[in-house]
Amino acid sequence: MEKRLFLIIGIVASSFCSLIFSSIDDYFPHKTLSSPSNYGNTGLLEIPNARFMEQASLRFNFSSSFPNEFTTLTATPFSWMEATYRYVEVKNQNYGPASYSRNQSFKDKAFDVKIKLLDEKYYLPEIAMGLRDIAGTGILSSEYMVATKSFGEFDITAGIGWGLLGSDNSIRNPFNSLHSSFKTRAGDFGRITGQGGDFRYSNWFSGPAALFGGVEYNLRKYGLKLIAEYDSSDPQMNKNPMVVKNKLNVGLNYHLSDAFQLGMSFDRGTNFRLSFSLKGNFYEDTLPKPRPKNVISLNYEQKKRIIEDPEIFYRSLNKSLRDETIYIQSASLKKEEVSVSVGSSRFRSVPRVAGRSAAIVSALAPDDINKINIHVMNGDFEVATFILNREKFDAAKNFKGSASEILKRSNLESNSNTPLILNSSFNPTINFPEFSWTMSPALKHQIGGPEGFYLGQLFWKTDTSIKFRRNFSLYTSFGINLYDTFNNLINSSSSSIPHVRSDIQDYLSEGKNNLQRMQLEYMFSPYKDVYVRADFGLLEEMFGGLGGELLYRPFKKNYSLGFSLHRVKQRGYKQRFSFKEYETTTGHASLYYDLPMGISAHASLGKYLAGDKGGTLDLSRRFHSGFTLGIFATQTSLSAEEFGEGSFDKGFYFSIPTSLFYSDFRTGNISFGLHPLTKDGGSFLIQHHSLFSILGDSNQDSILRDWSDLLD
């Protein structure tokens, strides 16, 4: 009995120890975790595995051999999903006739998705399924189900593939018994089956199938991963046949750091391949940021003087807030409460602005004050009011309470149409008109066109604004060319509908020194939670006109409704003050909806710039760090033929907060969006200060999401 007791205690203790102490394996200089396959998504060389990057990761991968070269961008919006966008260059094929694409080699775009079905367990492998080239030309279309299990430093992968991955035809398609439609695959894998852009659902998991597999061995001490795989794709049957001397591919990856990998492999017994990848994880901000500045509380005598002369309080507040790069907009000191409205371009998190402001107010306010009201502004809109219990707030700041306890004794409100700035005792003097300007080098890109894979421009961008009064401003933006390769653009648009976007080549080549925007804008809030914006002028690089938008954003709800309407005329290619003949009315009704897990949906219906009518759905996920990944698709009244290559408008975007790279707070973003093709159908007017972009991330749900920042 005693022995058994000791045994149980021993087992419990040893398992407890293993929970407390992690392994020395965490201290290897380089992690040899998931690495990209040649196709960009996580895998071995030519075949995928069931591993995934951590969620909120982005990976750029370049893998070069002959004749195929892959350039990919892979993202993980969820821990169970990987999405890849890929350019394939086929070096021994021409893009088109020389008159169209000179001597440029053939390029193909593709989109892949991989979904995790099962996490790895002690006995069970990690299992995933995936689709390659799901809406493309079909050159590399494949589907697969794959399992991966680790055994010490080994990672073993086995799977079954269809399409190009099934071209080995080594087993009977297991889905054949489910339905006869799985027996055949329309068109031939490895051959172009159309213009692309269509989801060919009927082909998925159909036709010949084959088994593939491989093994990875981690030499973590050296940051090396050795790879060997059996490749079930058979490029001899491809559009562009390749010699296959061996179905076994071998390679190695070197992890220079957690972010950077180099790879080399020997494929099919004939070709060497070199690759590198750059990965970032943006799930959280890992760089420590400055703590709130210490504010020394006023002594009894000073607080007594403040009651007699509130101007001293306002001036002290102004100075102390300024030290935190928070700017006071107005303030009112009453007997038992103080209200302050503030704005800051330093902090992304609204609770952080409110918390740092409240700490300063509390340090300076007379002792009788028990309520601190912080009115947070974005631009000239008051977006939220924090009504904080001073006692609870001070206790939490002194580690005698928590942010949750403050929340229980606080209120959140929004009184957009009666902001504090209209009814306060103190308003800092602003001398209108207020003029400001900034400038910086900037880039324009044209990626994947027939004239060259990358054409670009480096230009010097200058932005100016003249604020005539609150909410009424003139914005101007102009660019001066420094260097460009746009003279290589030779193919004019052949679109059969109004050329609202497809004349991009003319805009780029003729408008190198341009006036991008000259826009007069007025914004106001006529009713609670209702916001209006009117604009007039050169609204964007291709259109000018007048119009506006209206947004209803109920502060305590997780949805917003928007409506926009503009009468616009197409601008001349030189992008100065001339216009072309085409003019139209465009507008949309929009629904913005916050779903769980930081997912936002934006659905809009309306008329687009080319006169086509339809709807757009935009889905994005925002992580706590502010990193956002999104996709969108537009279907309009245009037929696939009228729309042209791609069949309908679609694309993806991501946005990385710049503060993730710096040791101080800042609100800027590094944003990247890609339409695989610049088409006229489904084109929106670009609105630079859309109301949702100003107000969307400051409703009650967003504030509660970031509530812990109140004390940070």
């Binding site: 992690s22 201290y27 290897f28 200089p29 001490k221 400038m439 080098p441 260097y483 710049t658 800042r666």
Partner: protein, 222 residues
């Protein structure tokens, strides 16, 4: 516009523009990025810590530089028996014993324990014979207890070293160390005076942290 012009223009844009143009008008991200890139490539200069500044501070002080980061001052916070606790303005705490970092606080990965047999530098210098050693390091985040590191310690030479505003004759001691399992290795250097006081050192304390460079600018009063 030809390529030569662009080659000339780029440095102008990215470096000279910082001084020629009012930098507050340039998007701040660019200015900070340029400073960061310059720092990463060529390191940061110690031009803000002067003998006068050190003299004005009424505490014992040292210059601390971590990897290629900017050097900063650390101040002696407390002294207990043979351990000194030093603190930086951004809340980094370092505990030293006989010039060697034995604990840290404030990093994402901290040294929480250091064990070794007695280290007698005087004997090492006198004998001029290298000696082998085994040290044990413990860390938090991720937690690891008693990671074994073995190596060899030796007296290299006596040399004149420039410390802040003065020259001093010091003994250079080198420690080559490694943990064969994870492949962590490096060399620590200590410059000591006749009293075996460590005036200057280069120390690796964790596989997850860059090297630490420490130079004592005002010696603690014993």
């Amino acid at each position: 516009m030809n390529k030569k012009f662009v080659l000339i223009l780029f440095p102008l844009l990215f470096f000279i523009s910082c001084t020629a143009i009012d930098s507050s008008r340039i998007a701040p991200g660019y200015i900070e990025a340029i400073k960061t890139i310059k720092g990463v490539v060529v390191g940061y200069k110690n031009d803000s810590i002067t003998p006068e500044l050190v003299k004005d501070i009424p505490y014992a002080s040292s210059i601390l530089k971590i990897g290629k980061g900017a050097p900063g001052l650390i101040i002696l916070e407390s002294l207990s028996e043979d351990e000194e606790t030093w603190v930086s303005s951004d809340g980094i705490y370092l505990v030293f014993k006989e010039g060697r970092i034995i604990k840290t606080r404030g990093f994402f990965n901290n040294l929480i324990g250091f064990k070794s047999l007695e280290i007698n530098l005087k004997r090492l210098i006198d004998s001029k014979e290298p000696e082998s050693f085994v040290n044990y390091y413990s860390y938090d985040h991720p937690k690891l207890i008693d990671m074994k590191v073995s190596g060899e310690r030796r007296f290299v030479r006596k040399e004149e070293i420039k410390l802040l505003g003065r020259m001093q004759q010091l003994y250079l001691i080198e420690e080559s160390f490694k943990n064969g399992y994870i492949g962590w290795k490096g060399t620590n250097k200590f410059w000591v005076d006749d009293e075996m006081f460590v005036w200057k050192s280069k120390q690796s304390i964790s596989p997850k942290l860059p090297e630490f460079y420490i130079e004592v600018t005002k010696k603690p009063a014993k």
